[in-house]
């Protein structure tokens, strides 16, 4: 039962655009040698997100003296990280944010950043749920089903 739930949930995440193929690839890298690979990567990603977002927020707070270069590099990093992880929505938002930053659109940047913040937190929650489901299955003694998108 949990397996079915797991599968459905995963599929929905993909459909909703939270995750993309890269996440699948990440899943492929998880094996006996590195059983928590995905979890590690994802947590690293979220940490990175937090750090970068706070950097950007701080930079944007300096009204009148915004260091767009810093914002630009941070968003670039975030874009890279999100694309590595497969966080599709986050990545899309980063692209938008980058554009705003390049054009030094203060309003746009702030708005985008807020969206990024919301988005990553939402993703974090969803992934957390997914991992909980996985744990349940594992504890029940089953195997995590392969989900083909």
């Amino acid at each position: 039962m949990e397996k079915r739930q797991f599968r459905d949930y995963t599929i929905s995440l993909y459909h909703q655009g939270f995750l993309d193929d890269q996440f699948t690839e990440l899943k492929k890298l998880q094996d006996e040698c590195s059983p928590d690979f995905v979890a590690e990567v994802v947590s690293l990603f979220f940490e990175d997100c937090e750090k970068l977002i706070s950097n950007m927020a701080r930079a944007l707070d300096q009204t009148g003296n915004v260091d767009y270069k810093l914002v630009g590099s941070s968003v670039h990093q975030l874009k890279g990280s999100s694309s590595s992880v497969g966080a599709k929505r986050v990545k899309g938002l980063c692209v938008t944010l980058k554009e705003c930053c390049d054009s030094q659109n203060y309003e746009g940047c702030v708005r985008c950043l807020q969206q990024v913040d919301i988005e990553y937190k939402s993703l974090k929650g969803k992934l957390q749920d997914l991992f909980n489901l996985e744990q349940q299955i594992v504890q029940a003694g089953g195997r995590i089903p392969q989900v083909d998108i």
């Binding site: 193929d21 890269q22 690839e25 990440l26 492929k28 890298l29 094996d31 040698c33 590195s34 690979f37 590690e40 990567v41 690293l44 990603f45 990175d48 590099s73 670039h76 990093q77 874009k79 890279g80 990280s81 694309s83 590595s84 992880v85 497969g86």
Partner: protein
């Protein structure tokens, strides 16, 4: 009185006669009786007498005759019948014996006579033998003398001793009064008295050589009797009372080395003779005997041989001394040369090390300095420093290489490498300069060019780099074409035939440029060291002029040939070289199979233990890339900056994945620096792959121009990475993963 039958004259008147008869008979009887006694006596005394029984017979006969005459004594007077009877018996016996003896004597006397003749014969024979023995003895003595003389002469190799000994011995053997030797002078026109036995002679006493007597002696090999009054024989003041002894002269040929033909006996074609004059003692009635003359001739020959031996020995001794001297001199020269070479090698080794160390420091620190924050002027200065020190380092290497090449101590370091990749790498290195000068370089590799070859990769790179570099350097406009092919037939020089053997082939590389061209007369000078034929304008482009010379040496070491063709000034030129390379068996076969490779299923085996380096500033993507590679079985090292990357990268890493996310040239520098780092080393450079989010061509071009082997689009899927890795490792180049 009875008439007696005895016949006896009864002459009483002749008493005297009877007396006389009586006495004669008596004496006859006595004689007859004494004869056998004498015979017996003397025969007994003599040792041999063959006919004893004849003696007996004769004795008997004599005795009987004696007896008869004795008995006759009684018949002078009247006598009785007994006496008559005895008388008759005696007479009868006597008659018988005498007849027998007479008969016997007929046989014996011839025998006795023949004995006599035999005796005569034997006596003659004995006399003859005596004579002969005398002769033999003389001869033997002569021989002994000659042997002794020869021995004396040959026991020394000193010319003077030989001649002196000859004279002395001859004098002794033949009991000569005087013995003299005349030698021809240097001019050959005179004979000079060189040696005498007894008398002191005045120095420089010469006689002209053309005297008839001398000619006579020189004309024959025999000893010739000459007159004691001839100039050669007149050695002492003549006094009247001397009756000069006989004089004999003989020629002594003076042989030269050139007289001895290889397979012939020495021919007496030389006209140089010495004259030996021998004088018997005066006032003696001695004559020259034949055997003495023979002895003299023999001695003369021996002397000639001995003299020539002495001369030959002298020559060879002289030659040997000369050779020994030369030997010593050569040995010394060799040792000096060795010392010089050793000194030079030591010097080179020291210079090598001592000069490279600061050089390295300068280059390394300048490179690092380049990485830091610099103002544009500072950057320019640092770049200049770097360029100059690189140039200096290259120059040093060139010089050191050349000197090692010169004395032949350079050996090729053979290894297997990818020929195609080599060309691409070289072009990559040249590309920046060519791009700046707007000179497109085109590489054309022949389809049958083997991919994996055995050869000295580093040196081949050097050669190609040098040639192509020259092409770029000396072209102001136009384009450069680099062609590589396998050559089969003979090349320009007819004595250099190129035959691809089983596991070798000849690579021909042609580099055509459309630059300044070269005057055909200058072409031979190109390959000489330090010669620069260009005008001042082009001279400023730098270089020591060693490049081509070194390239030529390397090409020669690779059993190849290099030359330059040019149609003249302004018409560009083409540099061509052939080198011999070995074909590596591995992996060329897979290339030749036209079947497209089936992507293999889990190729974990291929990558197990493969050491890779991942450079990414972004922690997440770094982790993801690492995970990807670890999943594939690689041993991954991660670095987060280019400095760290440079520090950490080593020859153990086969691939370096670098994240090129930021635009700008700085990121690509790392690639160049890695190239640099590894050209100096012997090891193979790791493959450089860029991970980027950009897909456009400009990024790809940029990557290529900075010497990257491949570009990957992020994010990379597992399958993608797997394919990419296997492709990379097989071909060492990857531009298709876009």
């Amino acid at each position: 009185m009875e008439v007696c039958n005895c016949i006896e004259p009864q002459w009483p008147a002749d008493e005297l006669l009877m007396k006389y008869q009586y006495i004669s008979d008596f004496f006859i009887a006595i004689a007859y009786f004494s004869i056998p006694l004498e015979l017996i006596y003397f025969v007994k005394k003599s040792a041999v007498f063959p006919y004893r029984w004849v003696l007996v017979q004769f004795g008997a006969f004599i005795v009987l005759c004696g007896a008869t005459h004795l008995i006759n004594l009684w018949t002078f007077t009247t006598h009785s019948r007994t006496v008559a009877l005895v008388m008759t018996t005696a007479k009868v016996l006597t008659a018988v014996v005498s007849c027998a003896t007479a008969l016997m004597l007929v046989h014996i006397i011839p025998d006795l006579l023949s004995v006599k003749t035999r005796e005569m014969f034997l006596k003659n024979k004995a006399a003859e033998l005596d004579r002969e023995m005398g002769l033999i003895r003389t001869q033997e003595e002569t021989g002994r003398h000659v042997r002794m003389l020869t021995h004396e002469i040959r026991s020394t190799l000193d010319r003077h001793t030989i001649l002196k000994t000859t004279l002395v011995e001859l004098g002794r053997t033949l009991a000569l009064e005087e013995c003299a030797l005349w030698m021809p002078t240097r001019t050959g026109l005179e004979l000079q008295l060189s040696y005498t036995l007894r008398h002191q002679h005045p120095v420089e006493y010469t006689v002209p050589i053309q005297l008839p007597v001398i000619n006579q002696v020189f004309g024959t090999s025999r000893a010739v009797k000459i007159s004691p009054n001839s100039p050669v024989a007149r050695l002492r003041p003549v006094s009247g009372k001397y009756m000069l002894g006989e004089v004999v002269a003989v020629r002594v040929p003076l042989l030269h080395l050139s007289n001895f033909q290889i397979n012939d006996w020495p021919e007496l074609t030389t006209k140089r003779y010495a004259l030996m004059v021998l004088m018997l003692p005066s006032d003696s009635a001695r004559q020259w005997h034949v055997h003495e003359l023979e002895l003299v001739e023999v001695v003369a020959d021996q002397v000639a041989v001995a003299l020539s031996h002495a001369a030959i020995l002298e020559e060879s001794m002289r030659a040997r001394d000369l050779l020994m001297e030369q030997n010593v001199a050569l040995d010394l020269a060799r040792r000096e040369a060795e010392t010089a070479i050793r000194a030079r090698n030591d010097f080179l080794a020291v210079m090598n090390h001592e000069m490279r160390t600061p050089m390295h420091a300068i280059i390394a620190l300048s490179s690092l300095l380049q990485e830091t924050e610099l103002t544009p002027e500072q950057r320019l200065m640092v770049e200049t420093i770097l360029k100059s020190s690189n140039l200096l380092a290259t120059l040093m290497n060139d010089v050191l290489d050349l000197s090692r090449l010169e004395d032949g101590s350079l050996q090729l370091e053979l290894g297997t490498f990818n020929l195609h990749t080599l060309f691409r790498e070289v072009l990559n290195l040249i590309k920046p300069i060519a791009v700046v000068k707007k000179l497109p370089i085109t590489l054309n590799l022949a389809p049958d060019l083997p991919e994996f070859v055995v050869g000295d990769e580093k040196r081949l790179t050097q050669i190609i780099l040098n040639i192509v570099g020259n092409a770029v350097k000396f072209s102001k406009q136009g384009s450069i074409y680099v062609t590589a092919l396998v050559t089969k037939s003979g090349t320009r020089s007819p004595d250099f035939f190129v035959v691809p053997t089983g596991s070798h082939f000849y690579l021909r590389v042609k580099v055509k440029d459309s630059g300044a061209g070269i005057n055909p007369q200058d072409i031979p000078k190109l390959f000489t060291k330090f010669a620069q034929t260009q005008s001042l304008a082009t001279r400023s482009s730098g270089g020591s002029g060693l490049g081509l010379a070194i390239s030529k040496r390397f090409v020669n070491l690779m059993e190849g040939n290099i030359w330059i063709e040019s149609d003249g000034l302004g018409k560009g030129c083409m540099a061509i070289f052939d080198v011999k390379l070995g074909i590596s068996e591995q992996s060329n076969e897979s290339k030749q199979s036209g079947i497209p490779k089936v992507p293999a299923t889990p190729q974990h085996a291929n990558f197990t233990g493969l050491k890779v380096l991942v450079m990414d500033e972004n922690g997440v993507s770094r982790m993801v890339t690492k995970g990807l590679l670890v999943h594939l079985g690689c041993e991954v090292t991660t670095v987060s900056s280019s400095e760290e990357c440079l520090r950490v990268v080593s020859h153990e890493h086969k691939v370096v994945f670098m994240d090129i996310c930021l635009p700008g040239v700085e990121n690509y520098q790392i690639s160049l620096r890695i190239h640099e780092k590894f050209t100096k080393q012997r090891h193979q450079r790791p493959l450089l792959v860029a991970l980027t989010g950009n897909t456009d061509k400009s990024t790809k071009d940029k990557c290529m121009s900075f010497g990257l082997d491949g570009v990957l689009l992020k994010p990379v899927s597992l399958d993608n990475m797997r394919d990419v890795l296997s492709d990379l490792l097989e071909h060492r180049v990857l531009y298709e993963a876009m």
